[in-house]
């Protein structure tokens, strides 16, 4: 079977990735389940959070990534201000030896929606600090453009609130964002099932980032395989150029007797 993705890598932060599915590690019932899901997903880049060391904990999510040769992407989850986010990013860089960061600066714990002002501030500081900044943002095309102008390596708009599984609530905004962007657009948050991920790619997104949809599915490994296929399917459909929507029918068989 032809590998249709072969000649279509994702260019992000100066690197090439064969997979356009970026995974998160939150919500998995165990490191074993997580590991199998990550393998099934085919991901090459995966997020982790930074927290205080727990002397009691056995096994590390880092080992799970290392064994599979998956690049680690620390996030700044749980930060409410630019200052917290910048500090967390620096600690992550020291701990993990990477200058890549998924930048999250949220406004409250009910919606987990990003705070546009603090986010932009943090992005500017981290870009100045030499980081490769991948900001989790809302679906506002204007804020996305500002983040791009601030030097972010990509913009990562939400489709819906984190963990909601509501899919892409406003495809129109994502399309506007894609048209205006000159950095990769990565759909982050909201994906609930495979068709959501395929739609994101059909809208022109360069990649999809998801965690909950896989880690909290009834069968994470199977859903990871589903997402892998869905992202590939959506990307192929985007490249193939879909048929126009038409109000009326168009016969797919020649007129009778013709």
């Amino acid at each position: 079977m032809t590998d249709w993705q072969a000649d279509d890598p994702l260019l992000l932060g100066g690197q090439k990735f064969g997979s356009r599915l970026i995974m998160g590690t939150g919500g998995a019932p165990s490191l074993d389940v997580l590991g199998r899901a990550l393998t099934a997903s085919g991901t090459e880049l995966t997020t982790v959070a930074m927290r205080r060391v727990d002397p009691g904990s056995r096994g590390s999510v880092l080992d799970v990534l290392t064994e599979r040769g998956i690049q680690v992407l620390p996030n700044t989850a749980g930060c409410f201000t630019a200052a917290e986010a910048v500090r967390t990013a620096k600690l992550a860089a020291e701990a993990l030896g990477t200058t890549w960061v998924k930048l999250e600066v949220i406004a409250d714990e009910v919606t987990l929606l990003p705070d546009p002002v603090e986010l932009l501030d943090a992005a500017e500081q981290l870009v100045a600090g030499g980081f490769t900044v991948l900001p989790y943002t809302n679906d506002d095309p204007v804020l996305a453009k500002r983040l791009e102008q601030a030097g972010c390596a990509a913009v990562m708009p939400l489709g819906a609130p984190i963990g909601s599984g509501l899919g892409i609530r406003n495809p129109h905004n994502i399309e506007l964002m894609v048209q205006a962007a000159s950095v990769p657009v990565i759909l982050d948050a909201g994906i609930g099932t495979a068709s959501d991920a395929a739609l994101a790619m059909e809208l022109g997104c360069d990649a999809v980032l998801l965690a909950t949809a896989v880690t909290r599915a009834r069968e994470p490994e199977l859903m990871a395989a589903a997402m892998r296929s869905a992202v590939a399917a959506g990307r192929l459909a985007y490249r193939a150029g879909r048929i126009p929507k038409r109000r009326y029918a168009l016969a797919s068989s020649p007129a009778a007797g013709a």
């Binding site: 919500g27 998995a28 959070a49 500090r87 600690l91």
Partner: protein
């Protein structure tokens, strides 16, 4: 003296070095980072970094998330 490591107060020898302090909560050779009073201290400087009474030490690592 008393310092705070990851939120817990501890009695430690005066003039304790940061690498010793970190070793109280983790023996990891890699994958961790430390901050003293909110400021990152590079691993290379842990040994030479002396702590003072009341210092707040944070030792972080990567966990599942995002």
């Amino acid at each position: 003296m008393v310092i705070v490591i990851n939120g817990a107060a501890r009695h430690v020898a005066d003039d304790l070095s940061l690498d010793r302090a970190v070793s109280l909560v983790s023996d990891a050779a890699t994958g961790i980072a430390a901050a003293v009073n909110g400021e990152l201290v590079r691993r290379a400087s842990w040994q030479s970094t002396r702590l003072a009474a009341g210092d707040e030490v944070e030792v972080l690592t990567a966990v599942q998330g995002g």
